[in-house]
Symmetry: C2
Subunit: 429 residues, 2 copies
């Protein structure tokens, strides 16, 4: 590039950095690496043969339409099928509330586009979904973060924060939540908190963006109604996806919103990518209406539930005491808190040498000083055997780090004694 073309970049682009996770994923090509790092579905779960059959039928019966531009809103029968399924979860929606998107990540981009001016506040839990940070960051959002506990976002702290922000006349535009099997933290928001959140949205006048990629991947306990099901005012925008229950490579997701908001999302999408790929939409549609999807969800739940059990068993077996985690009821991730004094970037460096990878908690916090004491482990992608082998390796690395830490702190004590002794000597001289 000619020197100095970089100066042409927009302010938002100057702040864009390749994420650590992205860089990390490149390392995973190394042979023998066992990865708990990504957030990939297990390809074992993909219904390849059914998709092949459907693709063939769609192209045979309606190829000209399936290969033509579609309208931005999405393929109407797919919008209907999505509305129908979402009604089953208690949301009052119709076709007019559904926009089909190019994967649910696109919803974050479009929501940023239509709601966020530079310095507008997006309130998130900390930790939160990494690419929500970069997505809203693109629109130069200011982040306010509220800690989580085993019940997802801490509602008491959220209320305090809202009061404090209101006093400074700085209420958020968007409150972004992951109520089910939070990424990265795995925790689920109880119904009471969901109701409270909707009430507060009305009271404080903000929009809730409910991100629910894993809602159907529950392995224990009972479903909890979505935040949007408690919404009477059109304040909750709900995003879902076929990536986790069908195939991420199809890039088909959806957003449910009040009509006025949906209209703006549609206009924004129109100049972004015209429409979601039509063949992918047609495949998703047939997959739903032919009745495969519920069976598929049961199948995925069985596979991932088993993998979660294997991971929890391995954690107990191979990890030294001092590490903590909340057992998730679903989703794809286990969030682990390290003992005082260990830090996850160093641990990751050692782990990679032993051919096992995870994501340091750092990636999931807006403040770069946070997240050193935690790590995210994905349990859906590795084979059952490799989960156990990977935890064995990781356990050994953690043990080793704890020993070194102990050695270092002993060395530090020794050094202090030595310094004290030297000080005395110097003092005397």
């Amino acid at each position: 590039m000619a020197d100095g073309l970089a100066k042409h970049f927009s302010d938002r682009a100057k702040d864009m950095k390749a994420s650590d996770v992205r860089e990390l994923l490149k390392l995973l090509q190394v042979p023998d690496m066992i990865s708990f790092a990504g957030g990939l579905p297990n390809p074992e779960s993909f219904p390849v043969d059914i998709i092949r059959e459907i693709a063939d039928d769609v192209l045979r019966q309606d190829g000209a339409q399936a290969l033509q531009y579609g309208i931005t809103e999405g393929y109407a029968p797919l919008r209907d099928a999505i509305a129908e399924r979402m009604k089953g979860k208690g949301m009052r929606v119709a076709r007019e509330n559904v926009l089909v998107v190019s994967g649910s990540q696109q919803v974050i981009d479009l929501m940023g586009k239509i709601f966020i001016d530079p310095k507008d506040i997006v309130l998130i839990s900390a930790p939160t979904y990494l690419t929500a940070l970069t997505g809203f960051g693109t629109y130069q959002a200011a982040f306010e973060s509220v800690p989580i506990d085993e019940n997802n976002m801490r509602m008491d702290l959220f209320e305090e924060r809202m009061k404090a922000l209101t006093r400074r006349a700085k209420t958020p535009e968007i409150v972004y939540v992951l109520p089910n099997f939070h990424n990265p933290a795995g925790v689920t928001m109880p119904e009471k908190s969901r109701r409270r959140l909707v009430d507060m949205a009305s009271e404080y006048d903000f929009i809730i963006l409910e991100d629910d990629p894993y809602g159907e991947l529950r392995y224990r306990g009972d479903d909890i109604a979505p935040v949007k099901s408690f919404d009477d005012e059109g304040r909750v925008v709900y995003m879902g996806t076929f990536s986790k229950v069908l195939s991420p490579g199809l890039r088909v997701g959806y957003v449910l919103a009040d009509e006025e908001i949906l209209k703006k999302l549609i206009i924004a999408k129109q100049s972004t990518d015209v429409c979601t790929n039509v063949l992918g939409q047609r495949i998703a549609h047939e997959y739903v209406v032919r009745g495969h999807i519920d069976k598929q969800i049961l199948k995925i739940r069985a596979i991932y539930g088993r993998k979660l059990d294997i991971m929890l068993k391995g954690m107990k077996e191979f990890m030294p005491s001092g590490l903590h985690w909340v057992e998730p009821d679903g989703g794809m991730f286990l969030w682990v808190t390290l003992p005082e004094g260990l830090n996850s970037p160093d641990l990751l460096e050692s782990a990679l040498k032993k051919r096992v990878a995870f994501v340091s908690g750092r990636a999931f916090f807006p403040d770069p000083r946070d997240g050193f004491g935690s790590m995210r482990l994905n349990f859906t992608h590795a084979s059952d055997e490799l989960i156990t082998e990977g935890l064995k390796r990781l356990g050994a690395v953690v043990n080793q780090e704890m020993v070194s830490k102990w050695d270092r702190s002993r060395d530090a004590v020794d050094a202090q004694v030595m310094d004290a002794v030297k000080g005395n000597l110097v003092g005397k001289s």
Copy 2:
């Protein structure tokens, strides 16, 4: 929606309007409507059987990968295949210069994202591609426009404008051009202007965005090397697509750029939609490497070239004198200038009543006062018979409007005479 949620929209969203064309496209569902309005490829050209065969092979042989997330950059063998083809057009590019995107429209969005701060200047030809206006408009670009003639953008006026802008220290960030078979104007930029544009980019320090969706759809004359082929400084970003030569519903396009720019585009895409749908990429890749694409281009050229001839013949046969157009050498559109006094929105209203549609020139200018004297006719989508029938209808409407205009102007003269007479009477009383 709760009253007043609209106040939460970002400044950019408040300016977003559904485009006239979008609204118009909805009217086209009326039975018997002959449409010259859209920019749709003819589905007759889609290689449905080959795509069906390829989809089947890809899913059979590598289903797990084809349905999994892909990397943001795009499927590596497709990037290679694109680089290879583009080298054949004289561009010095390798895999590292190629990003696969979700249709080339996405390039405009990503370029806006990484280069445009509010009020930054994007220089365009006037008219220009409608969705470049809305796409850059999303990033609150300020537009400077330069008129076109039969040689595409008027280079003399462009030079004058650049000098004037430089005096005001307001040079554009991006100069957006459609050198081949311009949309909507159909005109092509000569090699000399392309070379000059690249020299000026260096001299005045701007980025050129070269949009080339129709480059391979040439029906007469010889290919002209792309603007990017004359670029030594990485100042030209080139965008292309499989939409016009394979299928728009697959949503697979590409951008070629200097590595430093490409890196930012990749990071921006990552938080926008993660990756382009993988099945579509795999289909496009196989379509190219199995050697279908060049035969397909020949086939499309034959179909569209014939349709262009039919349209040009129909124009001569059915249009009254006083209308002007430049015969395009390729692409999808004929741009027609109306005689003084006719205006295209009124003409469109009358035309729709006679069941024939086009797009008023208004849609293609940033200034809402422009474009009343022109219309865009698409010649690729309608069947051969309907092109002729549509022009017959449109010719009748134009004739009728010219007669009414004549009547109106005669009425106006009569009224003036009457006023004068009345004035005399009043004066006398």
